[in-house]
Every structure is written in C-alpha cells, then in structure tokens.
Symmetry: C2
Subunit: 346 residues, 2 copies
C-alpha cells in the first residue's frame, strides 16, 4: 500500500475564534492495519462544537489535541482492509477517525452500520452523538412531564432539534431559539416547535426575554443549555420552581467568555445565581455524552424507529471535501450551518 | 379560657442582619380550638436559619411573614384542649406553632410524639426538619459512594452533623468546616468527622482552600452546601468530576450578599461557573425539605434506630424563655450556637 492519506492537523491554538491558520493539511502514508485492526476509507465526517474545546490547552472534557495532532472527529466509511474477523472490506462502520481521509482502528472501537437501514450519515447526527446527547439530556436530566414548557437554543441543530421533538412527543410546549428567520421557520415547520424566536432580532437579552415570556405564558420548566450567553441570560429569570437545566454545551462562550451587561439583573452572577438555584429548587446538571454510552442501545431502540417512521425528523448540512472542513467548522461556530454539519469526503 | 398567650411578631424587615427592634413581643387571648382543632402549650420551639429568609419581602421558599405576623417556627408541646378524636389533653405533638407560647392547629397538621421514645426536642433537630434535610439532601441528591470525600460546613449544626454522620456510615471521608476550635473538636470527637477546619483561622477563601486541599487528597466529591460565602468559594475549585452539590441553604448570604474578592479566581462567577458545571459534569440541586415530606417516614425508619443506638449523635443548644428567642436567633445567624438551637418555653 503506497497510497497516501490526508489529514487536518491543529497547527496552532486559536485565541478566540479559530481561523484557517490554526489548521494545516497534511499528507501521510496510508496506515497498514495491525493485528485486530481495520482500515476505513472515510466517506463522511462530523463537525461538532465540542471540537473547539479540544483546540484549547485547558481542562475540559478530554485532553486537548496536541499541536500537530489530527483534529478529532467521528466519521463513517467503508472498510478497505481488515485484520479482524469482525469486519470485511465493503462493510460500513462508524469510528473516531478524526479529520482525515482514512482511519485505522481496533475493530472493537468501530460500530457496524447497515446502509440498508437508511443513510449512513444518520450515525453522525440524529442517530449518533448529537441526537443521543439531546435524547439523554432531556429524558434523564430534563425529566420532562406533559404540560410543561421547554426552551432550547440552536433549535434546528442536531441536538436542539432532537430535544424539541422528543419533548413535543412527551406532551410539552416547545419553544426554540435560533439564528435567523429561516431557521425559525424550519424549527416550527419541520421540527414542530410551538414557537421559535430569532435571537438576532433582539438586541439585548432583556428584549429576547420579553419575547420568550410571551411564548411561555406558564414559565419555563426545562431549559436545555447548549449555547450559554445571551439565551441563558434571557431564559434564567423565566425559570419556574423545580426547573431542570441539563448543560451540554456553551458554544456562545467557547470563543469569548464574558457575561452580558444584563447578567447581574438576570440573577446570573454571584450569590443571586446560587440563591435562585436554592429558592427555585433548580436542578443544574452538566454532562458529556461519552460518559453515558451504556444508554446508547436504549436510545437507538427508542429513537431509530421514530426516525424511520418520520416522527422524528433531521436535517443535514453537507460541506464537500476534507480541505473545506476548517472553513465549515469556523462557520458552524458562528451559526452558519443549518442542521447537522457534515463533511463529505468522497 | 380567659388565659393569655404570648407571641413574637415581625415588627419590621431587617436591612442586613436582624436586630432586636425587628421583633415585638405581643400578648393575645388564648385561642379556642374549633371543630377538629387542637390547642397545644409549646414546651420547646425551634430556631432555624431559613427563618431569616421569611423576614424579607422577596421571593424565597415561601411567602414572607407579614409585618405584625407571628414569626414561623416548629415546636413541640403538650395538648391542653382538643376538638379532635386524634388527640387528647396530655398528648405531645409537633406542629408549626410559630414563635409562640401556644398554638392551635387542625389535628391533621400535628404529628404525635411519644415521650417514652426519647427527648421530645429530637423532633426539632436530629429527628426533625434539620436532620431530615441533611439525610434527604445527602442520600437523594448527594448520592454518596464509599471511598468518596464529602465536605460540609456548619459541621456541628443539626444539618451538618447529620450529613457528616450519614456520610461516614456510608464509608466516605468526611471533612467538616466550623467556626472556632471548640466546634471543630466537637465535630471530630462527637460526630466522627475525619477532620474539621476552623474557617475563622483562615483570612481568605484561598487560605481555607489550601487547608481543605490538604485534608482532601483525592479532591471533593460531594459538597453539601448549607452556608454559601467563603466556604463555597474555598471548596469549589477542589470539586472532582461528577461532583454533587446539594444546596439547602446559604446562611452566609442571608444577611449580606456579595461574592468574596477571590470568587472570580475560584470560578464562581459568570461563564467560568457554568463552564465548571459543564466540564466537571457537576450536579447542582437546590431543595427545600418541605417538598419532600413523603420521604419522612423512610427517614425516621432509617435514622431513629441509629439515634437510639447512639450511632448517630446530636447536640442541642437550649435558650430559655420566649422573650429570648430574638437574641438567640440573631446569635445563631452569626454562628453563636453549638448544635441545634432550641428555645425552652416552660
């Protein structure tokens, strides 16, 4: 095998928003699978907000990507060589192949996909990590009850759209927040949100709060936190007693990191925040889905049939070419994508 | 019945720490029990930090005490008249009689006590609301596992001492924080804490943190939050991944309300706090025990035998006379009590 593979490495750590210079495009010899290993040609790779955290040299979910190391990502692709009885060439599999044209992993780190069951890209979104994140966070930490009201931001994203749809199916009023009128229309028309507010249409958290309050006449029982920033500031004072706040991401703060000017008034800083948690009996739970893979089979068994039947819908935003992954990633962090961001490699 | 009763009313709302002028001592005709009601002469009443919250005209657990209204409190006493078949004169009962010499309540709001089972004052502390608060918060929201490390402040108080003892019996390393060397000695010698730190011996949260870190070599898995302020600031950066923070009180902030100068460094303000909740997968849960009375029988059945056997110990600090309740309450908010604060009325 004298063929080459290509990968995208972390060239330098971003200070704030990442830019093209933080990434480098590298060629390398195609790996030869060792005992028990499987070589996969990646067809689609996933871009997710958590990857921004991996670019920093700071304590987070996991170790940072080292300078010169391949950016992390999940991908789906076709087995082209196998030293494991568990896979044969032509099989399709999901694995953490990174931002790369090929991946070589032990067979037990791969999950077999059946292309006859639907598009393999679903394993990156609605039936993959983002969908699982939304389902787990909502059902386990959000503890939804019929008649309650849920708010989630990035409502057309793969996490937010799962949260909204599972909540609606559980009988909740669902109010989304998204960036732009088009996404808001998608949220209500495609994903069935009862309402969706365009955060760009409101200059301040306080204005957004007034609009949310109008859409949440009974207050907010679950705020699924996947963005932080202005939306958190807008929602926080609207939370009811016994509110649940699953916290799975803070994308608004990945690049920057200051509360807005109205945060103190919103009770988000200092003792006021702790006092709110106390007097409203709030339940605030941070989580990362990789700690809960034991629940993945349950997720698939509950959600995959609803995806197949169309009860749960999904939307993908597919960029073309590994070389365009950095630009797609940078745009995604600014909300430039609509639906699950994927890169098509071949 | 031309007899009189006495009560202590809220004369004015405190601005910061309460003072004697916020309370008034009033006489009133002894109530006559209506149909189904029971008249009780109060022997002991309870003083608890939550009462400070009731003095403010702000959103909290419950409606504030109105100006001129009787301060709220639980008490134990002897039935002196009954219009209910459930109680007869001479029976002992617990009820929310307020800061008052007598109370008249419907029979279904009273809980019968058996003086043969031990001192009736236990119903105000170790086997009452504070002990139940510690047990519920620790077992349900703290989810203790053998080998973990717990930190709790006010370690000799009725909540903190229950938390520490239940945690120790569950196999945790228990580290208390208390005000003064005498209380720290009590915490280790009487309540079995592995260590107890005197927060008064450390000028800053940072100094207290260094001392706590030395006593918690494996970090902190459960911080039972009942004080807020400097202790929270000291503990927060020591919390491990998957840390649980049951939040039942913030007595350090009841009177004042600003974070210390080092709060930002401790990650307690703004995005840093939310980021910590996320990246450490923290579980922060505010609660007030009155929402969980359905668990009270389970609490009693688990804890009362351990109190009877001496496995769980308790300490009471008894002031004499209803007229001294305000002074005892004011002192308690400053940490002047040692053990459960009770007022003996007769």
């Amino acid at each position: 095998m004298s063929e080459q593979m290509f990968r995208i490495a972390l060239a330098s750590r971003p200070d704030g928003a990442p830019s093209a210079e933080n990434f480098s495009h590298e060629a390398a010899p195609l790996p030869v699978p060792g005992e028990g290993e499987v070589l996969v040609r990646v067809h689609y790779m996933s871009l997710d907000p958590y990857m921004r955290g991996r670019m920093d040299d700071a304590k987070s979910y996991a170790a940072p990507v080292p300078i010169g190391g391949t950016m992390e990502a999940g991908g789906v692709g076709e087995v082209i060589a196998s030293n494991s009885p568990a896979f044969k060439p032509g099989d399709f599999a999901f694995g953490m192949f990174g931002w790369a044209s090929h991946g070589c992993l032990p067979a037990d780190q791969l999950r077999r996909l059946d292309p006859a069951m639907g598009p393999v890209t679903a394993a990156l979104g609605v039936l993959g990590m983002p969908g699982f994140t939304g389902w787990y966070g909502l059902t386990e930490l959000g503890r939804p009850r019929a008649g309650e009201t849920l708010v989630v931001a990035a409502a057309t994203g793969p996490v937010g759209s799962m949260v909204g749809q599972v909540a609606r199916l559980a009988g909740l009023r669902t109010v989304g927040v998204a960036g732009g009128a088009d996404k808001c229309r998608l949220a209500t028309e495609m994903f069935g949100f009862d309402a969706c507010l365009d955060h760009r249409a409101y200059d301040t958290a306080s204005d957004l709060r007034a609009a949310l309050a109008a859409e949440c006449p009974d207050g907010v029982d679950i705020y699924f936190e996947n963005v932080g920033g202005k939306v958190l500031e807008a929602v926080f004072p609207l939370l009811n007693e016994f509110a649940r706040i699953p916290v799975c991401g803070m994308v608004a703060w990945y690049n920057a990191g200051a509360l807005g000017a109205g945060a103190a008034d919103a009770g988000l800083s200092g003792p006021a925040l702790w006092r709110s948690i106390l007097v409203k009996y709030m339940s605030v739970n941070g989580f990362i889905i990789s700690n809960h893979f034991d629940r993945f089979p349950e997720f698939l068994s509950q959600v995959a049939p609803k995806v197949a039947s169309g009860e749960i819908r999904f939307l993908e935003d597919i960029a073309e070419g590994l070389e365009n992954a950095p630009a797609a990633f940078i745009a995604m962090l600014e909300g430039g994508n609509t639906g699950k961001q994927i890169v098509k490699l071949i």
